[in-house]
């Protein structure tokens, strides 16, 4: 499953293709990276209108300059303990595929770190934990940069099409 995801997202598969620029952000103690080409913008926390009948990780919708876009809280999505929002909490707006064209989705994260250029040598395939955790399918690979490990995410699986499939089950 995970290799399929990689193949779909990165056209050709293999860790080599994953090299490139990543926006890294923090969730609890973990560092994540997301392909910079998917990122539209980073905005500070703003008032979120809760949308009923959605999974808990869908925090609601915001007004992004006249457009209404959904915001997901990644901590909840990844089954991590939630915490109070701080002034570093922000929303990364990514553009992902949905069934009908691209959509913009906000990802609520603890803080945004930096943009890293990650080379192919630094990337390892995602580890296998042998669990049935579906969230693992969103992991493209692990990057070791200056002793830190960044978890590279596939935006489409986290908030795009992949999510769509799950939502339709609800």
């Amino acid at each position: 499953m995970s290799s399929e995801t990689v193949a779909r997202d990165e056209a050709g598969g293999g860790v080599k293709e994953l090299a490139g620029k990543y926006l890294t952000f923090a969730l609890a103690d973990e560092e994540y990276g997301i392909g910079i080409l998917k990122v539209r913008e980073i905005i500070g926390l703003m008032e979120i209108t809760a949308v009923p009948q959605t999974p808990t990780y869908v925090k609601g919708v915001i007004n992004l300059r006249g457009r209404v876009i959904p915001v997901l809280e990644l901590r909840i999505k990844f089954d991590m303990a939630t915490q109070e929002y701080t002034d570093r909490t922000c929303i990364i707006v990514v553009e992902v595929d949905s069934g009908e064209g691209t959509i913009q989705v906000g990802m609520l994260v603890d803080s945004v770190s930096e943009v890293l250029n990650i080379t192919a040598e630094e990337i390892e395939p995602p580890p296998s934990f042998g669990t049935a955790n579906t969230e693992m399918s969103a992991i493209l690979g692990m990057a070791k940069v200056k002793g830190d490990v960044k978890i590279l995410l596939d935006a489409n699986s986290v908030v795009g099409e992949g999510l769509l499939e799950k939502l339709s089950d609800i």
């Binding site: 209108t49 809760a50 949308v51 919708v61 007004n63 006249g66 209404v68 959904p70 959509i103 339709s168």
Partner: protein, 932 residues
């Protein structure tokens, strides 16, 4: 002998068609052609006509040569061969045959014929295009171009536009010579001018444009450079063309007295000189720059051929020029619609020449443009129908029901062909479908020959275009023309209200003098741009409200500021209104489709029905046009099928034998009302009532008015055909109607009087983009309830509150028990008011169901711009979308059908906890209290 002659012309026709569809490199097609040519040569009549034999022989030789690869197998050559077939046709009809033209034509192809063979004195076959004009008396005014004012208007409008753009492009080119983009645009302009001019029978303009186009073609293919001489000559051509077009316009507006005879030979020659001076190595298959000589010389060219030949030279594949094709598609749909409307009028007044002309002209236009675009099948079908109509026009034939049926059928068929074209444009050539027109052509020709149709010509209903293309389902006409461009203010040509067609004396005078269209009064705008504008204006209105509500601003009490704000909001409101109105189109087109439907339905059911239409000029959002079509069709069908009785039945109850169905549209209270009113038998209320009781929707003792009972038929699943159709009619597709109208956030209503008829009302919002809503607060959340669904709101009193078996809650509102939906419960909102008596209930109605929504507070009424929640959030039950509220936050708009569904699915698990409400926040104990 006559039979033989017939077969020659048949063979020639066959040849003409085959040559049109042949493609370079398709040797088997060339083989077919060869076969026909040989058959011709074997024909006794051909042998007897020396000239014809010569041409056919030459034709055959050319084909052989191209199979052997001795001659170039280019589209241009096939065009010329097509022209030669035209000549053959003329000769076979008895024309003398113009040997000079034939020689020249074949010389162009690359096959030399000895002029002497024709026994004709040929002096300057090699000369350029000059000769062609010498044959035409320069002073003789050729008025053919005045035949079709619509086409001419379009021509003038477009030509002026193109010539303007050419001029500026050339000047641009002078600054940056060699810019291929600019050259292409100039080329395209000339190409278009040439094409439409030839369609409009403006040969000289077409010729001149064609010569220039040839020159530009060379430039485009880098065979020559755009030097000073070339630039000058193109500019000169441009000036001349402008003057000619101006003159055409003058003639069109003021009459023939203004006609000036412009010669183009000098310029054509100049263009050629420039070309000859530069073209370094003209490839063998390159046409000498002779503009359509054959066509000009031929006194009466076979129309199909001539039209096709004219513009096709550069369009081996008609999809090449997508702009032109798109334009054609939009136009063709309009014309086909006009045809349909006029044919239906004609049925009422079969002798009205003006109507026949009105039908003839669009066919003529469609034929012309399709020919120019190389759409041979469309061209052929339109052409043969045009011929048929021409005979009617010239009193050679009398209009008959057969002809009307066939013309309607052809119209439908053409429409499916054009639809396919549009599909191809959108989805690529893969969408191509084969259309077999031979059946229709045969019918048309049969009628033209004075015969009548064996058996009844199928008069297909709009949903079933004649399935002549076997194994392939032709595009359904229901996929109504979605033209890629919108014409916000161009009304279809004025048509007499078909309502009046029922009146014995149709207002012919009105038809006879269609007002002249103002040239340049409208522009075509991309729909996307328009939507963008409307959205931006929506944002502007919101932003203005946000600024105005800013606490800092409201704290200021500056009279100047207030005044300015007042002015600002007036301007934005005006802007919004204008932007909205640009998307509005008259409902006429949709209504006109109903005319056809009623005609077909009444024919099929053997009833006499008059359709009376009112308020066709009422404007609706163009995005709604498609969506109201289905509900309308169902309602009209119900009215005709089930409402109106058969003539005998009607007469038995003292009504006129002919039933009347009225279709009306008007504005009322910020809504558009569409009304369908029949004078039929009305609903069988008792039957519906018993059905409702049977289904447990009500009890026999319920005191429900007939009106309410009648409206039960809108309930989903309530009525299906086998349940009540047999007895009372109504019941087919009411669900579809209701759903369709709901989707548009409209409302349906039925008023039926037994024995007198049924009135069906559709109440629709003016636009889909904006919704009128009440903003309510629940906890910290705000929701918008569409005003149209709200019946009342109140602060409930404890004595009106009941529970049902501890499962549901109801509120007594004016003697009816209405289930309560606690919005905070369904939407899981925290910190909201749970006490019924301290909250507010809003009574809403949806699909006949009433519910009382418990909310904390009403915040106000506002028009909001609907936005999709985006991506995967858009299908949430109970939510129709979101909107940006005055403070910039997102508010959610309720979808009541979904909300009711969701609340029913959820049940009331927390009822015990929640309902403590009545006596305060009493929690579980509340339950006992209430039940006690």
């Amino acid at each position: 002998m006559a039979g033989e002659q017939m077969s020659v012309s048949q063979l020639l026709d066959d040849l003409a068609i085959k040559i049109l569809v042949v493609e370079p490199g398709d040797l088997s097609a060339v083989g077919d052609l060869l076969e026909v040519a040989e058959q011709l040569l074997d024909n006794a009549d051909v042998k007897g006509t020396a000239v014809l034999e010569k041409i056919v022989t030459a034709f055959k030789k050319v084909l052989e040569a191209s199979i052997m690869g001795e001659l170039s197998d280019s589209p241009e050559n096939y065009d010329r061969l097509g022209q030669s077939v035209s000549m053959m046709q003329e000769v076979s009809r008895g024309a003398a045959g113009d040997g000079q033209a034939v020689c020249k034509l074949f010389k162009e192809i690359g096959y030399e014929i000895d002029p002497a063979e024709f026994g004709l004195e040929v002096s300057d076959a090699q000369d350029g295009g000059d000769g062609s004009w010498d044959d035409v008396d320069p002073d003789e005014i050729d008025t053919r171009f005045l035949a079709d004012p619509e086409l001419l208007t379009a021509f003038i409008e477009e030509a002026v536009e193109h010539l303007d753009s050419v001029e500026s492009s050339i000047l641009e080119l002078e600054k940056s010579p060699g810019d291929s983009e600019v050259i292409n645009s100039i080329f395209r302009s000339f190409h278009t001018v040439k094409g439409i001019a030839s369609c409009t029978d403006l040969d000289r303009i077409s010729n001149l444009a064609h010569a220039t186009e040839n020159l530009l073609e060379e430039v485009r293919n880098n065979r020559m450079v755009m030097d000073q001489a070339a630039t000058d000559v193109v500019l000169a051509v441009c000036d001349r063309l402008e003057r000619m077009v101006e003159n055409v316009q003058e003639v069109f507006e003021k009459g023939l007295d203004c006609y000036k005879s412009y010669q183009v030979d000098d310029l054509v020659a100049r263009v050629e000189t420039v070309m000859a001076g530069q073209v370094t190595a003209p490839p063998t298959d390159e046409p000498p720059p002779v503009p359509e000589v054959a066509q000009a010389e031929a006194p009466a060219p076979a129309p199909v051929q001539a039209k096709v030949d004219l513009g096709s030279g550069d369009l081996p594949d008609f999809m090449q020029d997508a702009d032109l094709v798109a334009g054609f598609i939009a136009e063709a749909f309009e014309h086909l619609e006009a045809i349909e409307v006029n044919v239906l009028d004609l049925e009422q007044a079969p002798d009205d020449m003006e109507i026949i002309n009105n039908i003839f002209r669009p066919f003529h236009t469609v034929k012309g443009v399709s020919g120019f675009l190389n759409l041979t099948t469309i061209n052929k079908l339109a052409h043969s129908t045009e011929n048929l109509l021409d005979d009617v026009r010239n009193n050679k034939l009398t209009m008959s029901a057969d002809i009307i049926d066939v013309v309607l059928g052809v119209g439908d068929y053409l429409r499916s062909m054009v639809q396919n074209l549009s599909d191809m444009l959108e989805h690529g050539p893969g969408a191509h479908k084969e259309f077999d027109i031979s059946d229709w052509v045969r019918k048309v020709e049969l009628l033209q020959a004075g015969g009548s149709l064996d058996g009844d010509a199928p008069s297909p209903s709009p949903e079933e275009p004649p399935p002549l293309a076997p194994a392939e389902s032709p595009p359904v006409t229901e996929a109504v023309p979605v033209a890629p461009v919108v014409e916000p203010s161009v009304d279809p040509p004025p048509q007499p209200a078909p309502a009046k067609a029922a009146v014995p004396s149709p207002p012919t005078a009105k038809r006879a003098a269609p007002p002249k269209q103002k040239i340049g009064a409208s522009i075509k705008v991309d729909v996307e741009k328009l939507d963008g504008l409307v959205n931006a204006v929506g944002e502007l209105v919101i932003m203005q409200a946000m600024v105005q509500q800013n606490p800092l601003i409201t704290a200021m009490s500056d009279p100047k500021l207030n005044k300015d704000f007042g002015q600002l909001s007036r301007i934005t409101t005006e802007l919004q209104k204008t932007a909205m109105s640009m998307r509005m189109v008259p409902i006429r087109q949709t209504f006109q489709k109903m005319t056809r439907l009623v005609r077909d339905l009444s024919k099929k059911s053997g009833k006499l029905v008059d359709l009376v239409m009112e308020g066709e000029e009422t404007e609706i959002d163009r995005n709604m046009v498609d969506s109201i079509y289905d509900p309308l069709v169902h309602m009209m069908r119900n009215s005709v099928d089930h409402g109106v009785q058969k003539a005998a039945e009607r007469e038995a109850v003292g009504k006129p034998g002919k039933g009347t169905v009225k279709l009306a549209a008007y504005h009322k209270g910020g809504n558009i009302i569409i009304e369908i009113h029949d004078d039929g038998q009305g609903l069988n209320t008792e039957k519906i009532r018993s059905k409702a009781i049977e289904r447990g929707l009500m009890t026999a003792t319920d005191n429900i008015s007939d009106h309410e009972v009648n409206n039960l038929i809108f309930l989903p699943g309530f009525s299906t055909a086998d349940q009540i159709t047999d007895v009372s009619g109504r019941g087919v597709g009411m669900d579809v109607v209701k759903k369709g109208v709901d989707k548009l956030r409209g409302k349906c209503e039925l008023i039926s009087t037994p024995g007198e008829g049924t009135q069906f009302l559709m109440r629709l919002p003016l636009t889909l983009a904006i919704i009128d809503g009440i903003i309510v607060r629940v906890g910290q959340e705000r929701y918008i309830i569409p005003t149209i669904a709200i019946q009342e709101s109140m602060r409930p009193r404890a004595e009106h509150y009941n529970t049902v078996q501890g499962q549901g809650e109801t509120l007594m509102v004016r003697d009816s028990l209405i289930p309560i939906i606690r919005l905070y419960h369904v939407f899981d909102v925290e910190n909201s008011c749970t006490d019924i008596t301290s909250g507010i209930v809003v009574v809403i109605e949806n699909e006949g169901r009433h519910r009382a929504l418990l909310v904390d507070e009403l915040l106000g009424k506002q028009e909001v711009v609907i936005k999709s929640l985006g991506g995967y959030l858009k299908d949430i039950k109970g939510l129709a979308g979101g909107t940006i509220l005055g403070d910039g936050r997102v508010g959610l708009i309720l979808d009541l059908a979904g909300l009711i569904g969701a609340s029913e699915a959820m049940g009331h698990p927390q009822l015990g906890h929640a309902r403590g409400g009545v006596a305060g926040d009493a929690g579980m104990e509340g339950k006992e209290e209430v039940e006690a």
